[in-house]
Symmetry: C2
Subunit: 334 residues, 2 copies
DNA sequence: AAACTTTAGTCAAGCGCTTGTCTTAAATTA
DNA sequence: TAATTTAAGACAAGCGCTTGACTAAAGTTT
């Protein structure tokens, strides 16, 4: 089987503890023995058993990531950002995907606790109370990323209200007054809901009337954008602009508008959200709000590292700014 | 600190071994004690220490994934497929990203070995000899996914030559004879190179001349597709179709063609590769070869599971078929 | 009733490391 | 030169669990 400290110790003629210390760079041996130990270790192809080490040190150098869906570009990028920083600090990442299902989330929190991860990152759906309780009880350092609700937990995210506000305000400043919205699923306290909130606030602050039938719900996907836009086109209240809560839906909207024989942005302007690569593929290219997914992940991991090292269980929140990317799908009408 | 078997044992009045057996469902206790043990375990909020268990069972229920880049849709989907099946079999996934760097790959193979993962999935760049050696020496069950080179190791991938051949053949059957190619980076034995091979073979088998200057290299990204197409347009040998080795480049090509005042597919037909969501966003929608990324991941994990359970170190290879997705970017000219 | 099985446990070793304490010989100091 | 410090290492316990071997009492068989 695998070679152990004992094997090295015997071959060199010292005890395990000496070998352990030397291999860990604790200076407790003569140059000679050190050399010998390193040499024998290399000869034997020694590969330390991190499991055994973890058992005594109570550190696994592993952090758990509970995430909704890896196949989703957005989450994949967040994960990517997390992984980079984790790796920088010498941590491995174990990833569990939940599809946003509460029971899966619960299950994985438990599992990761059994694995004794040093910390936990939560980037799944809206965090249910049950999860929060379990997390807090487990005492695992945790930070929540990319989700709005995290009362007792430190978290990093974007300000969906503010960023949506910015998108809609941009439309308003371009002279639009009949602005529709294609929202994502508007579940309470999730990004979809906050984006609607931002839309309404922008209208309100600019003395524009909020018409509920101009808000039609999609599911963030392209096809749903097409459907939603078609519905909007039927209602037709002379809208001149639409704010889509995702780029996929934005592109869908553009396609629907064009199919209806109208022109973007000449007849209707469209603005999206995410700055997905898809926004560059559409014709015209989609003006959008760019989210800092990678940075979100990086910041979250940096934060988690601090929590692990210093244990300040403060429910600290940080917001990362987005950027308005102007392209060709919005036209000024003043 | 955390509650252990010992704590439960003491409170119930039995030994640790009894508690362990009961909690693991090994029937070695009376109904009464069993009930009591479960009750006390729940009361105390017992959460088994998988580290300690792993130390003795030599199983971590963890598999390692070495992958090139999570932010890349393609790999993210492969990873997603892997995760699903891993989870089905009760394994966790620890992910390391390498950016295709050989030293990073080596480093992570070592790291994952230290963590005593039960198996390893390799989905990084072209696998260097050094990695293969290390992997084989480590004796960790390994399967390679989404990469063409894996001589001594079991692997699952698509047949890039064949699928590219199919794309080009489709163009030829539509009457095209002047077909250009926008290739990905053509590093030896990587997908980019194989796709070129498929392109050439298709031309060859159909008695069409291969002109090296009609193959221009991109890097799989959208912007490189635009650049490449512009170059092609300059050369201008009356090409009527182009095969792009990725959808991003395909969409880039379409944009370039349109910008040059020509029409797709009226003047030039374009076919892509991947079936990325981007292919649906472009105008016209891009005809392409659809890769089964998720399935690739799933199959690889299924395969790994078998290897772990049965240890047949056979260098088994499996190829998953792709699909030609016909949309509107290719026109028949006969 | 003696011999054998079962049941319900106990006991102890061991997985591969780390780490605090102790020991001995050499090096330094007064 | 005797006393003290330091260097180089040995010793042993322990992390939390699993598991094979053993035991004592109860139940079953003939």
């Amino acid at each position: 089987m695998a070679v152990t400290l004992k094997d090295i110790a015997e071959k060199v003629g010292v005890t395990e503890s000496t070998v352990s210390r030397v291999l860990n760079g604790i200076p407790k041996a003569s140059e000679k023995t050190q050399k010998k130990i390193f040499k024998v270790a290399a000869e034997l192809g020694y590969n330390p058993n991190q499991i055994a080490r973890s058992l005594v040190t109570k550190e696994t150098k592993t952090i758990g990531l509970i995430i909704s869906d890896l196949a989703n570009t957005y989450f994949a990028r967040v994960a990517s950002g997390i992984e980079k920083i984790a790796s920088k600090y010498g941590y491995s990442l174990v990833i569990s995907t939940t599809g946003g299902q509460e029971n899966a989330e619960l299950k994985y929190i438990n599992l990761l606790q059994e694995k004794r991860v040093d910390g936990l990152l939560f980037a799944s759906g809206k965090m249910p109370v049950s999860c929060r309780k379990l997390l807090i009880k487990s005492e695992i350092p945790t930070v929540v990323v990319a989700r709005e609700v995290a009362e007792e937990l430190p978290s990093v995210h974007i300000d969906n209200v503010k960023e949506s506000y910015r998108a809609v305000e941009y439309l308003i400043k371009a002279g639009h007054t009949k602005i529709a919205m294609i929202s994502g699923s508007a579940v309470d306290k999730e990004s979809g809901a906050y984006r609607i909130q931002g839309y309404k606030k922008a209208l309100n602050d600019n003395n524009l009337e909020i018409k509920e039938d101009l808000i039609v719900e999609g599911n963030f996907k392209l096809a749903s954008g097409i459907r939603a836009m078609n519905k909007l086109l039927q209602i037709n209240k002379n809208i001149t602009a639409v704010f889509a809560a995702s780029d996929e839906m934005g592109v869908g909207a553009i396609k629907a508008i064009k199919k209806a024989g109208l022109k973007v942005p000449h007849d209707i302007s469209v603005i999206g959200f995410d700055n997905n690569i898809i926004s560059l593929a559409s014709e015209p290219e989609l003006t959008t709000i760019s989210q800092p997914e990678e940075k979100l992940g990086q910041q979250a991991m940096e934060m988690l590292y601090k929590v692990i090292k210093e244990q300040p269980l403060t429910a600290h929140k940080i917001y990362l700014p987005c950027q308005l990317i102007k392209r060709n799908s919005v036209q000024s009408i003043i």
